[in-house]
Subunit: 348 residues, 3 copies
């Protein structure tokens, strides 16, 4: 067998979301690194010496134009998908793509379709927020979401039919929605938000918890700094736009359940969306005051909260003897796949 | 003198709270590691390669059954106590135990008895919350606690007699308390919570600040994300159940006082509870807007907030040239005790 | 050329703010370290082995008395300025000082003078909070500040003329201000606070983002833990006294703009305050729910939030192969300046 020359393998991603972490991790594992970068952001990415090659585009969807497609179609190049790839490239385009994508690209549509998402979470026996079928049934604090909305845009809170109607009417007036039917209602999970970063290795057949964060959202996470008596006197419409992330550790007694959830999720994906979920995923939810976790969302690829742990996290430290970011973990799995000639289990 | 073979010494703890950190630190210092683990959690702990040996039990109190007791009674085995040991094993059992426990096991009852705790804090000249002897004297925001309650269970806020009575009545109806006498009242410390992680080394005769955190409690730390105008329309009963921790650093100008508090605390324990407090302890309180610290609690053993710093903290970095978790610091002190034949100063 | 002996060069600072980080970083780069320390804090600073020499004073302004001034006037000694130097030593004294200060000491007065500060931020085309010229024009939530106040002392929120008058009257009664004229009014930036730690290297002619934090302020950051219904029943006067800091990472898509702001700021300083801003600076502001950043403040020297990253940050990890604190980065720039004989570009 010829000796492995990892430098002949390239890890490629789009310049946004967690590209720095992904390419830094790839370089740390010895890969060549390639970034597809918007011209408007070249000044950011050219600062980092671990990026070997930058392809400039006007929009990310140009990556499938003939010239660029040819470059990224070269042998031994692997694309790492992240949130921006998903939001900027049509799923149907990705599905047809001949270039190897790390992880299971077929699961991405389960992440973006509310009903498929719910089905997968139920298959994994995750506890999810109770759905409120009709506004007349709103009795507790509820969160109202837009079908297919990105991030937390347009979300609002309601505690009865009247409060629902007031906000719904506003969204219609602003032409953000056409009618009430564009909305769906979930019981609000009272508690504290927690985001788990998992990595499933098909080659080791094991799940690893690599980090935990909470999001830092504008303007909802600044709200508590405005006294209640003042909040009543001003007009506030809290939003949930993710600005960043801050690190957390969890009570150790909750880790067992967290690992169980992740294993059930891996098993559920392998049943419903072949070949399952090689690589990173995230379970996102709220711990209530009894220590029970309600999952309101999953991500079937690397999440931006992992950017906190480019130099390792308390959890990665328990598993590895070197600083292991999620980006580096991906590269390491790919390297192992190359060595063991098992790449096909990691790519779609 | 024979050469030290640290591999013949075992560090042992219960599988919960901060066991991963403690055994990782022990392994990093060269010890053999042993975990007493509930069968239901085996799947978590068997993931970690730094755990040499796992003894499975149904309940932690089985550790004193003949078979297991024999195993952990072997020569050169040291038990590291943490929150779960204290909550699951009777203090009277620990007191009588012949197996060496790291730190001063006699101080644990001072931590769990409100009057002893208060006495120790006063001996250390720590500023503590003002006690309100009678509900008629509630004039400012106050926190009402249950005698001997674990965590923040049942705690509530009151700002006058009437608000006290309403919540008190509810607790009686729910049979959480029998009467008002099961409650005690403290003035609420308005400000921001801070938890200090200290280590006292009898061998170096010095205190070290190794980290600072704040707790992440459900659902009180999610409360600020609910607008005031909505809080008024729904029924909320905030609780203080610890879910995790997040990291902090403190203004450097406050560190001098923090160290002074820790030294007074060490001195106070050495006067009141021989042999004092070798090892980790935590001072827990609130900084008001003048930068004054009110201590509402101490822990006389390692706290779970140290799990943030398994790979070191900004403060441990100032003191050590390697990533020094609290768990590793314990192991290092034990190693020094073995080397210098001064173990008796570290164990009870 | 003689071989560089960095041990013959001394980095000196005052014992407060970020002195530990600065001297640890200096030592890591091979410098001799000197601390000017209040006698009352000797017990803190003598704990740290990276401090080679401590000069004790009663007050920091004694550092310009003959004896001490002679010591710190020795060859190859560089003073690192920080918040305490600025608050305890008169700017006019610093301006006249013959001892080399790292960075541009002439910019410090732009930081402390509200009008100069505003001019510099406008020159850098930073988006700043709208000024409200007259209390009758308060229509949205506004923050009222004291001219030349340190920290957030005396700041309050107002949402109309009446709410302004009530709090203003109180401040006059308490003799904190003489009249309304001591106050100025800005529109409150609704969103989440973010603090950027930048380093400008004149020798590399490049800006580096080394970390991001948010402040932890008493008692405003504890406010959200008090239910709205209770806040209404008690008397609260929220304050903004910095107690500490907690770490953040930002959405990667926001980093491009962050770097652009920093570059415009560097360019603006080089036009308005020669020789510009060699070394650390901080842009401080709020992200609104559209991801737009309003800068309410800058610091033209190292900020205390960098104490979070004594062992490196996710951002420094992207740029350096070793843990790079801001303190160490300063030392490294000085070392390069010595090597390249370009110290004059780094000192004033």
């Amino acid at each position: 067998m010829p000796r492995l020359n990892i430098k002949k393998h390239t890890i490629c991603t789009l310049g946004s979301h967690c590209a720095l972490q992904v390419l830094k991790g790839a370089k740390d594992e010895g890969f060549k690194t390639l970034l597809i970068c918007k011209k408007t952001r070249q000044n950011l990415y050219q600062r980092f010496s671990f990026i070997d090659e930058i392809i400039l585009v006007n929009e990310f969807n140009e990556m499938f134009n003939t010239t660029i497609k040819k470059i990224i179609s070269r042998e031994n190049l692997y694309i790492i998908p992240h949130g921006t790839l998903i939001s900027d490239i049509k799923l149907s385009t990705l599905e047809k793509l001949q270039i190897p994508i790390f992880g299971n690209k077929h699961i991405l549509k389960w992440e973006s379709d509310r009903k498929l998402k719910q089905r997968l979470m139920e298959e994994a026996k995750l506890s999810t927020p109770k759905e409120i079928k009709n506004k007349k049934q709103i009795k507790n604090l509820s969160i109202v979401k837009l079908h297919g909305a990105a991030g937390g845009k347009g979300y609002f809170l309601a505690w009865n039919e009247k409060s629902f109607n007031i906000r719904c009417k506003k969204l219609i007036e602003k032409k953000i929605i056409k009618s009430e039917d564009d909305l769906y209602i979930q019981e609000y999970s009272v508690g504290v938000p927690v985001y788990f970063h998992f990595f499933y290795s098909p080659l080791k057949n094991d799940v690893e918890l690599l980090g935990i964060d909470r999001r830092y959202e504008s303007d909802i996470d600044g709200l508590g700094r405005i006294p209640a008596t003042i909040q009543q006197n001003i007009n506030l419409d809290p939003t949930y736009n993710v600005i960043g992330n801050s690190p957390l550790v969890l009570r150790e007694s909750l880790l067992y359940d967290a690992y169980s959830m992740s294993e059930r999720f891996v098993a559920a994906t392998s049943r419903l969306v072949k070949p399952g979920i090689p690589g990173p995923f995230c379970l996102e939810g709220v711990y209530d005051n009894n220590g029970n976790f309600t999952v309101f969302e999953f991500s079937s690829r690397i999440v931006a909260g992992t950017n906190l742990f480019i130099d390792g996290s308390p959890y990665s430290t328990l598993l590895f003897n070197i600083p292991m970011s999620m980006g580096r973990r991906i590269a390491r799995e790919l390297k192992l796949g190359i060595k063991k000639n098992r790449l096909s289990e990691l790519l779609t």
